[in-house]
């Protein structure tokens, strides 16, 4: 019961002809240090859900809780929630406004009211956490960076809050494959070394699936499935019916299994697939 929701319902523009129930009685929880994915077709309520976890939207009914306590709707409680639950929006570098990388990352700690010396420490730490060389970058204009660097600076600008939960909406959108791999290895590192709870919304499962402990599936604002990644991705037919795919590696394992080979199908990454297929070889060699 670290962070989660209970019967969370959200209606946009209630009481108008345009009223739209984006979330319907969604209940789930994550424990500290968990790495979770939220998947679902566009318009299934993923963005609405994560914005509640960060206190940006208030429930129409139901509740959001953090560390076992229900989050109230007063300003102080919401501010406190935002401090501890970092949210990285889709294409976050589009929200840059500062003249320097330093100011961009310092925005959040300054909003927390820290003295400049402490702000500076936070900025340096955040940049180190995302693996960027601090000295050369700090005084650059954020727009001069490469797209991969921009994404990392955007991530640092949220990590400078020192959140306990990090939520990312489609974190690899627009990145090339080396940028995508770099970002995911960074998120894994943060999750393992800092016990940061990570929650990712994505349509691209190839890189993300192998890292997740838990997967949550939304459709039309309802929570359809929640469980261990291995369990969720074994429901191949159901996922296709929901308009969701499988990681390509998992697809191959399913193919092998259908072709009569005795392999596990709950495998999402290349290394896992390699080991599983090698086990068969080992058996034959003997």
């Amino acid at each position: 019961m670290f962070i989660g929701t209970e019967k969370l319902t959200h209606t946009y523009m209630p009481g108008t002809p345009f009223a739209n129930e984006a979330l319907k009685e969604v209940t789930f929880d994550l424990s500290q240090g968990e790495f979770a994915l939220i998947i679902g077709p566009s318009g299934s309520g993923k963005s609405t859900l994560i914005q509640h976890l960060n206190g940006l939207l208030k429930p129409s009914s139901g509740k959001v809780y953090f560390e076992g306590n229900t989050v109230g709707s007063n300003k102080a409680e919401l501010f406190n929630l935002r401090k501890r639950v970092g949210l990285v929006f889709q294409m976050p570098e589009e929200h840059f406004f500062s003249e320097t990388v330093y100011d961009e990352i310092a925005f959040a700690p300054r909003n927390l009211g820290f003295e400049e010396s402490k702000v500076q420490v936070r900025v340096t730490e955040a940049l180190e956490e995302v693996g960027l060389e601090t000295r050369t970058l700090l005084n650059r204009h954020p727009f001069q960076l490469s797209s991969g660097q921009k994404r990392l600076v955007a991530l640092a600008s949220v990590l400078s809050l020192k959140p306990e939960v990090l939520i990312l909406d489609e974190p690899t959108a627009g990145l090339d494959s080396s940028g995508r791999r770099n970002l995911y290895s960074l998120l894994t590192k943060l999750n393992r070394s800092k016990r940061l709870t990570v929650l990712i919304c994505t349509h691209h499962l190839d890189e993300a699936a192998a890292l997740a402990d838990t997967v949550i599936v939304l459709q039309h604002g309802r929570l359809i499935l929640k469980g261990a990644a291995k369990e969720i991705f074994s429901r191949r037919e159901q996922l296709y019916q929901l308009g969701l795919g499988l990681p390509a590696v998992t697809e191959i394992m399913h193919g092998l299994s259908e072709g009569g080979m005795k392999v596990r199908t709950d495998i999402f990454d290349l290394e896992g697939a390699r080991q599983e297929i090698n086990k068969l070889k080992g058996r034959h060699v003997k």
């Binding site: 946009y12 523009m13 739209n20 940006l56 935002r82 929006f89 589009e94 925005f107 909003n111 809050l161």
Partner: protein
């Protein structure tokens, strides 16, 4: 996210009022407005008010949308009422409190003014609630066409207005998302002095401009890629068409105006 942002005030429908040619609606509205200001008789004004109500019922747009449109003029109406009630003399004294008197002539004129104002707003709402902003734009640009001869690029102006209309919802969504992104980084747009609040808008305005320019750039490329060239001749998929009903409506508006002017109603 907010899939519900609507453009302008348009309320979709299939009524006769909806289907009238926008150019006709615009001209007829002009005539009706002129009529409203030339009318001096109570009976004429009341008749016009009921015509407005009749048309409103015809549109099948829920009446609360018209009420909402009337809200902004409420203050002016109350203000006018107070002025007329207390400062116009004549007729029977209805009320006397201390040195303030309310006389019947004041009440009469106050109500007349308010009825005129309300009718005026109702007719304008009849236009804006039943016409898409795009057809309104094209309707307006048609009347601007003569300005082409003094060098105003009227087709381009119409295109600019149409694109602005197309991007209002997109930019509104964008500013909402930006605001949330900065709030989630601890920004506070609500408290503090005016100076502080103005300063706190920088994190919104800079990226909003950057993104608006980027969008404009991409859109310009996309338009060019599809063969749009400034100054080149274009056609329209839906040319405005006029039906007999359009002429009838226009004639009715014109006759009413003429009658009011000649008969001094």
């Amino acid at each position: 996210m907010s899939r519900s942002i609507t453009l302008g005030q348009y309320f979709p429908g299939q009524s006769l009022v909806h289907q009238l040619n926008p150019r006709m609606k615009l001209i007829s509205l002009l005539f009706v407005l002129a009529l409203l200001f030339s009318l001096r008789s109570y009976s004429g004004l009341v008749a016009l008010f009921f015509i407005a109500l009749f048309l409103i019922a015809k549109t099948r747009v829920p009446f609360r949308y018209f009420l909402r449109g009337l809200r902004p003029v409420l203050f002016i109406a109350i203000f006018a009422l107070v002025i007329y009630f207390f400062f116009t003399s004549g007729g029977i004294v209805l009320l006397r409190v201390g040195f303030i008197t309310v006389e019947s002539e004041g009440v009469r004129e106050g109500i007349f003014i308010i009825l005129r104002l309300v009718t005026l707003v109702l007719f304008s709402l009849l236009l804006t609630l039943t016409t898409t902003p795009l057809s309104l734009t094209y309707g307006l640009s048609y009347f601007l066409k003569p300005l082409r001869y003094i060098g105003l690029p009227t087709d381009e102006v119409a295109m600019i207005m149409a694109i602005a209309l197309r991007f209002i919802p997109t930019l509104m969504e964008e500013s909402q998302r930006l605001m949330r992104a900065q709030v989630s980084r601890g920004a506070d747009f609500e408290s503090g002095s005016i100076f502080r609040r103005a300063k706190s808008l920088v994190p919104l305005i800079v990226p909003l401009f950057v993104s608006a320019f980027r969008r404009a750039d991409e859109l310009a490329l996309a338009m060019e890629a599809r063969g749009y060239r400034i100054g080149a001749i274009r056609t329209r998929m839906h040319e405005d068409t006029f039906f007999p009903r359009d002429w009838v409506v226009l004639a009715v508006a014109l006759v009413m105006l003429a009658a009011s002017l000649t008969l001094g109603l």
